[in-house]
Symmetry: C2
Subunit: 338 residues, 2 copies
């Protein structure tokens, strides 16, 4: 991660982190340490640590959007906190549903405390997201909270599709794109929109920023899917070939299946098998995706999405300094390695 | 259930049911049938049925509070829908956490569709509750949604305590009362408050109604705990002695444990055992609670709570017709058999 390209955004980081810390501090004593652990603030015994807290892309987007729209970015802080909370609510619940035992190099919440605590910690973060926005006193609290609510329904739709895909072998690329639109793009889009709305940006600017957000969201998912196959476990914190291990119908995989190429057919046969695959098998499956063209397509498509995002930005009447930052954030998304 | 005593409230029922139906209709196609099933509107294949939808106590309270406060009860409809959604979100998640396989005489959501769908259906209802309030256009939408948000955190606190109690043998009565305050009383109190706030009642009236709500909430839990031991399975839809079967530290049980009586000590010994108890054992355990005085105390305490609720009502400047209805609803709570 190239922190230097995100310097302006980092200046806002402290305000958001502090507000997020205050919000989490209000949770019940049984839930608070669990959420603090998930956010990388402490270990499972409550001891302060400096663990990976994630990339905070959503709160950065909310703050940048407020600045870009020419508003007072301090007004966007409750929005930045709310989208981080909704993102983390979905991570904690998704890890439980997907039985993912590791995130950010550490055991996931359900793996440490069990299913019930994971359900409750996620619920608490979702509710807290609304409380933070509604307590902000912002005249835009209602539209901002509605953006968050609708993005939450999109997240749920995307995750429901993801769960459904696991037991199906006939997932189409179009369905997979729709799933990514729900699971990833919706909240990224809502993040920029919430920042702009709280800064009282005009609707045309909010709309351009929303397009930017949903395009980088799809780029984000494409890169995530590439990292899920070819990412370096040391950097991603996930096992090698993790998405192939779970036979996930990711975007490069479904593209390969629809490619009509022999490697795509071989991949389909491999995906239809069950059982725990050996690492050599996973490597062979990754090679099939590569040979069928899925890796190249996903890279090219993420580039196209970033360019579409940048065109949306260029059409909006926003401060050039922050337009540049938003361009950089888009580039960061496709260039990241974790 | 004595429907005749709830006639005025039933007149509002259609407006709430219709608004709830519209709200659920907006959920994603994968989640909608699950929520409709849970609400008793269809079977697991989506075929319309007339199953038990629950007692709708919370939406009745919201509507009655709006009338009692002299407001236009139509303004309270989004609040009535929101509190029903939050209640049902918590039921779907609690059934999953507690591994309860039956509710309202039917298999629970996780038992039909699995854990992931139960998590998602609950999440969708919680988010929808906020959306319904925020889309209402009510000038009181923000305070109403904050009441719902805070009650949700209380529900989570109560359920976290409930989960914690399962692995502990040293639960005190005071902790158990606090758990019931979170798990049951908070949302009942928020239900009346939301109705009154949306009807723009003065703060002193809202406050009196909140006291009424939390007192009947504790009475409700006491009666629930009595039914969990001595309820008729034909009527409750739960297995006989269900709370003893799971060795639940309910209010009558914890009172008995603290009674200092021989039957209380025998009960403590029995609770410390593990394994699946035979029905004769469960009957013996129920007799220990009775002999120790837990059943009598819970009955008396629920009566005291109802009288405290009624005193709060009598102190408030509300329309006598609706005060009478609220009195009746309180009586219904202690007299119900399911």
């Amino acid at each position: 991660m190239t922190v230097t390209t995100l310097s302006t955004v980092d200046a806002d980081g402290d305000a958001v982190r502090s507000a997020l810390f205050d919000a989490v501090g209000r949770l019940d004593h049984a839930i608070r340490p669990v959420v603090a652990y998930h956010l990388g603030w402490c270990d499972e015994h409550g001891r302060t640590v400096t663990a990976d807290s994630g990339k905070s892309v959503r709160s950065r987007l909310a703050m940048l959007a407020a600045r870009a729209a020419g508003g007072d970015e301090r007004r966007a802080v409750p929005g930045a906190v709310a989208v981080e909370l909704v993102h983390n609510f979905s991570l904690v619940h998704d890890d439980l549903m997907d039985r993912d035992a590791t995130r950010r190099h550490r055991p996931t919440v359900w793996a440490v405390w069990g299913d019930a605590v994971a359900v409750l910690a996620g619920d608490a973060m979702l509710s807290l997201a609304h409380e933070v926005l509604l307590e902000s006193g912002s005249p835009q609290a209602v539209p901002a909270a509605l953006l968050v609510g609708r993005a939450t329904q999109d997240l749920i739709r995307g995750q429901a599709a993801d769960v459904d895909f696991e037991r199906r072998n006939d997932v189409r690329l179009a369905e997979c794109v729709d799933m990514a639109a729900g699971k990833t793009a919706a909240l990224l889009s809502a993040s920029v929109a919430v920042g702009a709305v709280l800064a009282e940006a005009p609707p045309v600017t909010v709309s351009a920023l929303q397009t930017y957000g949903s395009e980088i969201g799809l780029a984000f998912q494409l890169v995530d899917d590439l990292l899920g196959i070819w990412g370096d476990p040391e950097v991603t914190g996930k096992p090698v070939f993790s998405d192939l291990r779970s036979r996930k119908k990711s975007l490069p995989v479904t593209w390969s299946l629809e490619s009509g190429r022999p490697a795509g057919r071989a991949l389909a046969q491999w995906l239809a098998q069950s059982g725990d695959p050996a690492e050599s098998e996973l490597r062979a499956a990754a090679d099939m995706v590569e040979t069928a063209g899925g890796r190249r397509w996903a890279r090219a498509e993420s580039g196209r999405r970033v360019r579409a995002a940048q065109r949306a930005l260029d059409s909006a009447a926003i401060d050039p300094r922050y337009r540049r930052e938003l361009h950089r954030l888009a580039d960061f998304i496709v260039e990241r390695s974790a």
